[in-house]
Symmetry: C2
Subunit: 441 residues, 2 copies
């Protein structure tokens, strides 16, 4: 594949620290950042300096994780976080996750479109069905069966899109001389009635610079892929190998074709969680330090990935010759082959873990060029249209990525030097859409 | 009553133009302001310069009014508007209206508490039941009977307050040395199950500088007053006479007493919509101009308030002697007595309307001193603890109020010279509250 297309990058924005669980206590990080909108704005500005196409905020309505030693993984609240960022950035896209199960379509449509207007056309909605029982309990509910959740998701997205189109583009006249505020003929109810949700409309919000927000999807499974193929302009993927990413991307593109769309309209983003340092040793030491407290508890899982009974006493030793002989990559975790490969290089267990082998994304470890190489390899293999980049510690890590990885990608002709447009649709190459109907603008 | 207490002022923030329907086309006003967060931020900053205690944003989920000639009356979306304002102001309280009927308690609790953290303790929630059928239709519903709506309102407020208290004040340790992020013992589920709504919790949000948001209420009727007495620190009133305001205020205070609270904890705010000019004639001309297009259609209603059959042909004439003889204030509209009083002064129908006699609030017309006199009279008569001030045209009107009315009030010892504290609770004198239990901090 030639370099005539360039990769599109999103940056993962979470809790105000970074994606490593111990980021909150890393040197130089303010442990109060979980409640700091200043910090989030700073990180967003750093990403914008790096010409990231969008920020991606995961979300679920609840509190997860062991707060005794680790911070929550998500922002306090995604819409207010993005509202702050919208006012203090100018170009970067703003994609928040919102549940189709635990939100009324009118409310979610209104807030995303208000964000879209506020940001001058930079909003995207990652529409997820939410499958966490803890989240459901926060609404006095249990998780409904998948078909029902996806039925409601389709209805919710369709109603939201219809509401987004409830003012025609030229409905808002602003004609002070004639005293005509708007043309009521061009602001119409939608009257959509689904099995689970319904709305009359219209929404009280005129078009944004990109018409209406962009849909993202992040669901796995057949239902999730169908949803993505039908509505999404961006898909937040999770894959550990090029093969896996290619097949996920192909599935989404097929689903888009089945929905009558051009598959190039749906961009697939693979995750990457770089470990960057002046040398491989330095990059690894950074991760060793971040894993200092979590490593002992992770050893036994690492063992299960390698078919070995490992315990924390061996943390600072490599696998023995006899362990290496019997070690096998588990078929139950797609990260196992990589773990075995790293183990065979002779690293200690602590260092194997520091390679990110049981982290949430593939982790290139080394200089900035190693990360650039990883991204180039995936991109040129057709594994993705770009990446959502998850930074270990935001405070210094975003700048490192922007200052060191991006120039390499740019030099190789793989990444743009500046934003080509001003809206999220521009950044994604997503066609104009207004209301339910794609391409009607 | 002596001047040892001072009045508390809130400023009404609506559509980006001002509270007069024709504000969008007034000279000097940008007709695009309905979609401008810059404009809202500017108005908020002007109010903060004037040491207003809070901004008050009415809301309902829908689109009302005749958009052919008039703008919508409310902001595009109140939470995102206040998020923008939170970042660009430092002291002023931020009170948004939110429906207890069309929001899940977990969602509304999360967003208001996120706003509270973002604003460093300045958020307030005006909890309303929403009685507009058009709003209900936006959720595929109809308006439930009042008892059911209020039952759900009680449950929703109680769950929100419990969620707000789900992190104890000292739960968030931020102890980097010991690696203790939080004390999980102090972050507990709430497990509240109502008839209409339920939630398990906890919320993913630590305390703000004021602990948790402040409750406001704006409902009329016995149910609304009971709700206000039970939860509210501020009541947004609508009254056209001192007597009416006094009796509303007394009813709210009685309800607070019945709920076991000190009635002084509930501040009652009367509305006022000043018409200010260098002279009475100039103030009136401003309103004549704003009413130029709406006046003809309002004449017949004015007639019904005066027991007369009036039509637009008489717009630029006063009532005739014979009309004055038979004119009677209608008992169906509390504004009628004032309309008759103004009519007897000999003004033309257009000018009578320009006195605001059928506007949403009492309208003192004249120099800044006339507005200050009105406010002083109401305040000293015990009709209110302060006002929510509705400005006719925000673009110049807020500055006029701040620069001309406030110094008079300050000179008379009726208004503070600066903020005494930094949170909305400070500004209102509302006691500390954390979780469901008042005064537990
Ligand atoms: C990369 C990725 C990111 C996701 N982000 C979220 C998220 O932020 N919030 C959420 O509730 N679910 C998220 N999901 C979960 C999916 O939406 C979905 O719930 C999950 O794949 C289970 O599928 P099901 O809903 O079909 O059972 C994410 C999934 C993937 C693959
Ligand atoms: C001054 C004032 C302001 C109000 N603001 C709102 C508002 O912004 N949104 C809303 O839905 N209702 C608002 N209301 C309406 C009340 O909440 C309530 O719906 C109304 O008084 C009818 O009472 P009911 O709900 O008991 O039938 C307001 C009422 C008053 C008196």
């Amino acid at each position: 594949m030639s370099n005539d297309r360039t990769m599109i990058l999103g940056m993962h924005l979470g809790n105000g620290y970074g994606s490593q669980g111990a980021a909150w206590r890393f040197p130089g990080v303010d442990p109060a950042n979980y409640a700091s909108f200043d910090a989030q704005v700073r990180y967003a500005q750093a990403a914008e300096r790096g010409k990231f196409a969008f920020l991606f905020l995961p979300d679920f309505p609840g509190l997860q994780g062991d707060l005794a030693s680790e911070s929550p993984q998500i922002t306090l609240e995604p819409m207010l976080t993005l509202a702050a960022i919208a006012r203090e950035t100018a170009r970067i896209g703003l994609v928040a996750t919102g549940s189709t199960t635990f939100n009324e379509p009118f409310n979610i449509a209104r807030q995303f479109k208000a964000l879209d207007v506020m940001s001058h056309g930079r909003a995207g909605w990652n529409a997820v069905t939410t499958s966490d029982p803890g989240a459901a309990a926060n609404y006095g509910q249990t998780i409904a069966p998948r078909p029902e959740r996806y039925q409601r998701a389709h209805e919710t997205i369709q109603i939201a899109q219809a509401l987004w189109g409830s003012w025609q583009r030229d409905a808002w006249l602003q004609d002070t001389a004639a005293g005509r505020f708007a043309d009521p003929e061009k602001i119409q109810p939608i009257n959509l009635q689904g099995q689970h949700v319904a709305s009359r409309g219209p929404l009280p919000i005129p078009p944004s610079e990109q018409g209406q927000p962009v849909i993202f999807a992040a669901g796995g499974g057949d239902n999730g892929i169908e949803l993505a193929g039908r509505y999404a302009s961006g898909v937040i993927g999770a894959a550990f190998t090029i093969e896996d990413a290619r097949s996920q991307r192909a599935a989404v593109r097929d689903a888009a074709r089945r929905a009558g769309r051009d598959p190039d309209e749906v961009k697939f983003f693979a995750g990457v969680m770089p470990a960057i340092g002046p040398t491989k040793r330095a990059a690894l030491d950074r991760r060793v330090r971040l894993g200092e407290h979590s490593a002992p508890a992770r050893v036994s899982y690492l063992g299960s990935m390698l078919g070995l009974a490992l315990d924390a006493r061996q943390l600072d030793e490599p696998l023995s010759a006899s362990q290496l002989t019997i070690a096998r990559a588990s078929e139950f975790d797609p990260r196992s082959a990589r773990a075995l490969e790293v183990a065979r290089e002779g690293w200690t267990l602590r260092e194997i873990l520091a390679h990110g082998v049981i982290d949430y994304h593939p982790t290139p470890v080394g200089t900035a060029a190693v990360t650039a190489d990883h991204m180039q390899e995936w991109f040129e293999a057709g594994a993705c249209d770009g990446f959502w980049v998850s930074i270990d510690v935001n405070e210094d890590g975003i700048d490192t990525f922007v200052d060191e990885v991006m120039p390499i990608l740019q030099e190789r002709g793989l990444f743009h030097h500046d934003y080509e447009g001003s809206t999220l649709r521009d950044h994604l190459g997503a066609p104009a859409q207004y209301g339910l109907d794609p391409r009607v603008s």
